[in-house]
């Protein structure tokens, strides 16, 4: 099933235009459409189909003579062994997805990794699928409370399907796939020994369906998660477009890139470029969900002469642990390669550190082998022996440890550019190191030992959790109302990560979706009442 394509004709302008087909845009579309509001979704994605996900399970994949094509691409362009990037960013699928974003939006970065995708579903196609729910402590400082978001969390989770262990607040969570052996051991050790000093370790909730749901098959634990989910068990927002297209009052306009936002009468106009050239679309209300970086640059240009805004990210590190009892055991034939366990603990000066623990039995060895300070042949063999016993943990700090800025400008050729400067606070690095030490202590208590020297600290932006540029609450020139409406531009709503007030260390995607749902519910009610 493919989304329909229709072009806007001036006669019947939609009540709301949504910009972007990522998790936020799709989550905002549902409540509007269900309330009968006419919606047009504008998406920069072209019609080029993304590479198909490979079939089979991880065991047969390891022996597959054409495995290299999946791993590096048929042209071997992805075989560059220098990268210290996360393995999920270097697959041919990911490279395809991320390609062209920076040049298209005119991105200039300093000390910052800015990821974005112009493909259908945006970054959700390479989303690790960790679905975390923010509690009131995570939402401290935000005008939106956990209780405000709860109905939206429930609706989104019901819609996209999440699994793991039964959630709190009666949220709909299925029993997830069996964890990898080292994660299972860790979890059972944690259940035997009570947590101390606020260290919490629990099963990760992932946006993975366990049974058939709207054309997606349940997870069969094939272990190919990294290379693209062949059953579509892992959520990606593009999967929902066919369902949205069934609403008669929904129109999808693909291959259209929004160049600028303009005021027009009581409403707003979007200048877009598509294959037919440039055109102007207008609607009384526009809901921006193009992803924090793209959304923010559109808004900054619309507001004019704002200077730079802050851009929140989670400073991130990673660390490797091993469980000796599993060393040198054979690698499993099947696995589940997404987040296994989530941990969090309070930081000394407030807020929490959090992270997700992954197995390594379904990852290419070369990335880990490259970090071992021994000869290559020995490193490859040792990594193979280590892999079944390895646990890889990410460590995230709250957004207050980031001090990145984003601004818009024109370059020498009068071309619009977006400039991001990556900065972390002075104590970010030391705090990450301290978090790593604390994590190592807790893990040792549970029988997992940190590999010496394995803590690596990534550059700003590597988390891809971009947020907080147009925050709800506050009085700054770029502030939004709790309804997501940009205070300086009535009728312009922000529904993606840009609108988050703060960025706790937990993964933000599910909250962005729930918040988009909440904003759209409010907007739908308002539009219906005005009729």
């Amino acid at each position: 099933m493919r989304p329909r394509f229709s072009h806007h004709s001036g006669s019947n302008c939609p009540e709301v235009i949504i910009v972007g087909s990522g998790p936020a845009g799709v989550s905002a579309a549902w409540p509007l459409l269900e309330a009968g509001v006419t919606v047009m979704m504008i998406d920069a994605a072209s019609e080029v189909p993304l590479p198909a996900a490979p079939r089979g399970d991880i065991g047969s994949f390891r022996r597959d003579p054409s495995r290299w094509k999946v791993q590096f691409g048929g042209n071997l362009a992805g075989v560059d062994p220098s990268g210290d990037q996360s393995p999920k960013l270097t697959t041919p699928l990911a490279r395809e997805m991320l390609a062209g974003f920076a040049t298209t939006i005119g991105l200039r970065v300093r000390d910052f990794l800015a990821l974005g995708s112009l493909s259908r579903g945006g970054l959700s196609n390479i989303w690790g699928a960790v679905a975390a729910v923010y509690d009131d402590e995570d939402l401290a400082g935000s005008p939106v409370r956990h209780a405000d978001l709860l109905p939206s969390y429930a609706a989104v989770m019901q819609r996209i399907g999440v699994s793991g262990s039964a959630g709190a607040d009666g949220l709909p969570v299925e029993e997830g796939p069996t964890l990898t052996a080292p994660a299972q051991r860790l979890l059972s050790a944690a259940s035997r020994s009570p947590s101390r000093n606020g260290f919490v370790l629990e099963r990760t909730i992932n946006a993975v369906v366990m049974s058939e749901r709207s054309g997606r098959e349940g997870c069969a634990r094939c272990g190919m998660c990294l290379w693209g989910c062949q059953r579509n068990s892992i959520y990606a927002s593009g999967l929902e477009l066919p369902q949205l297209c069934r609403f008669p009052h929904f129109r999808y306009f693909g291959g259209a890139l929004v160049r600028s936002l303009l005021p027009q009468g009581k409403g707003h106009a979007l200048e877009i470029s598509c294959k037919n050239g440039r055109m102007l679309l207008h609607a009384p209300r526009i809901l921006l969900a193009a992803g924090t970086i793209a959304t923010t640059s559109l808004v900054l240009r619309r507001l004019g002469s704002i200077g730079s805004t802050r851009l929140l990210t989670n400073p991130v590190g990673a660390m490797a642990f091993m469980i000796p009892a599993l060393f040198a055991t054979p690698l499993p034939e099947r696995s589940f390669a997404l987040g296994q366990l989530s941990y969090r603990f309070p930081l000394r000066d407030g807020g929490r550190a959090a992270g997700v623990i992954y197995g390594a039995d379904a990852l290419p060895l070369v990335g880990i082998a490259g970090r071992l300070p021994i000869s290559r042949p020995a490193a490859l063999r040792l990594t193979r022996a280590l892999a079944p016993s390895l646990l890889l943990a990410t460590c995230y700090l709250p957004g207050r440890f980031s001090a990145n800025t984003l601004r818009v400008a024109d370059d020498d050729n009068q071309r619009q550019i977006v400039i991001i400067e990556g900065v972390q606070t002075e104590d970010a690095r030391d705090t990450l190191i301290a978090v790593g030490r604390r994590l190592a202590r807790e893990m040792r208590r549970l029988g997992a030992f940190a590999l010496p020297g394995s803590l690596t600290i990534a550059q700003p932006g590597a988390d891809a959790h971009y947020a907080g540029t147009l925050p709800m609450g506050g009085n700054g020139p770029t502030a939004c109302a709790p309804t997501g409406e940009l205070k300086a531009c009535p009728g312009l709503y922000i529904a993606d990560g840009a609108v988050l007030t703060d960025l706790p260390a937990k993964h933000c995607t599910l909250t962005i979706m729930a918040n988009a749902d909440r904003i759209a519910r409010y907007l739908a009610a308002r539009i219906v009442s005005e009729r």
Binding site: F72, S82, S375, P377, A378, R381, L382
Partner: protein, 428 residues
Amino acid sequence: MSVGVVALANVVRHIIVTGASGYIGSRLVEMALAAGWKVTVLGRQPLRSNGVARPIQWALGAPLPADATDPDTSADAQALIHLAHDWTNAPSSEDPEGGLNIEGTRTLLRASRAHGLRRFVFVSSQSARADAANIYGRVKWRIEQELVGPGEVAGRVGLVYGGRPQGMFGLLTRLAARAPVLPMVDPWRGVQPIHLDEVCLGLLRLVEGDQVGWLGIASPYSIPFGNFLKILARELHGRHLLVLPIPHRLALLACDALHIVPFGPKIDRERILGLVGTQPMECADHLTTLGLNVEPFAERLRREPASRKTALAEGRVMLKYILRRAPGSALTRRYARALVATGPHGPLPLPRLLHASPALLRVIEPVNRAAPLARRLALATALAEASPQGEQMLARAGRLVRILSGLADLALDALLLPLRLLAGLLAR
């Protein structure tokens, strides 16, 4: 190799080629045939007919054979590409320097005009100048002056490389393969290298076009000749070539000396003079006129079969070191392809000893992971892991064997670490 870019809708349908057995000529004929032209080749030896090109016996100086033109094609749909050159410079009585080359070309030109051929394309040289240092350059220039009729044009060709190792390219390739240190006249002198296929395509475009005078068929950018040879040695032979600048008088002496030595490369002093006298040639506009895209030298060279051979040899060393057994040919080929795909660096110069026993890499494997050799090893590791052979090697051992061999590996690594550090210091 495809030459599909040459449009078939041109008016010229038949080409007569002189010097068709030479380095450029033979490839030119192949490409012209592949692009759908009728081709007649003129040569001294009865040319091996491949059943497609029509061979006719002819020698420079002789009149154009009556059957050289194609009776089934009108004269204005025929062209002549003149490549033949007499290297002996057989003097004619009245013109000791121009000799057969000038006389022979005049004869062809007269015939071409008499038949009313649409195009006469003369293959000239970047060194063509009235005051060129070598006879070759002066003769080429003098011939160019004869091209005054409509449809007569010269293509000044830069330093040609690629294809079969013949001509100047063959000579330089042999030099780059053998000499450990290459004494060289003025190694900073710029050359404008162009691939054989690009030259032939350019000449065919001249046949199709209506340009007159001369056009440069060479790289728009020049690189120092010393670098050209270093790249040649690295890409084609995986060698590190030292270039030693020497005065050109000494070079001429040396090449005279080489003629006395019975074996070893012979170098024509004419050619040395040709290189010394090379002047930069502006040709970017000409290339645009011809619609010719000239690839950077190192990148294009990497796709040459000889270069591939070196990459394959490197692949065998790297992969055998990682796998500890000889790699399969598919895996080795993938390594060579990955080298081309991953960047501007060609094969590494590896000592011969390593080709014999790749395991010795363990002693010199760089500790610094950014070192070129370390990056190649990382590449080999990635490819080896993602191959059935690698998987078989990794999956084979039982748990105890894995643990014990892992410990042995670590112990050996610890022992060898001082040597590796030392090797790293020496490499700096």
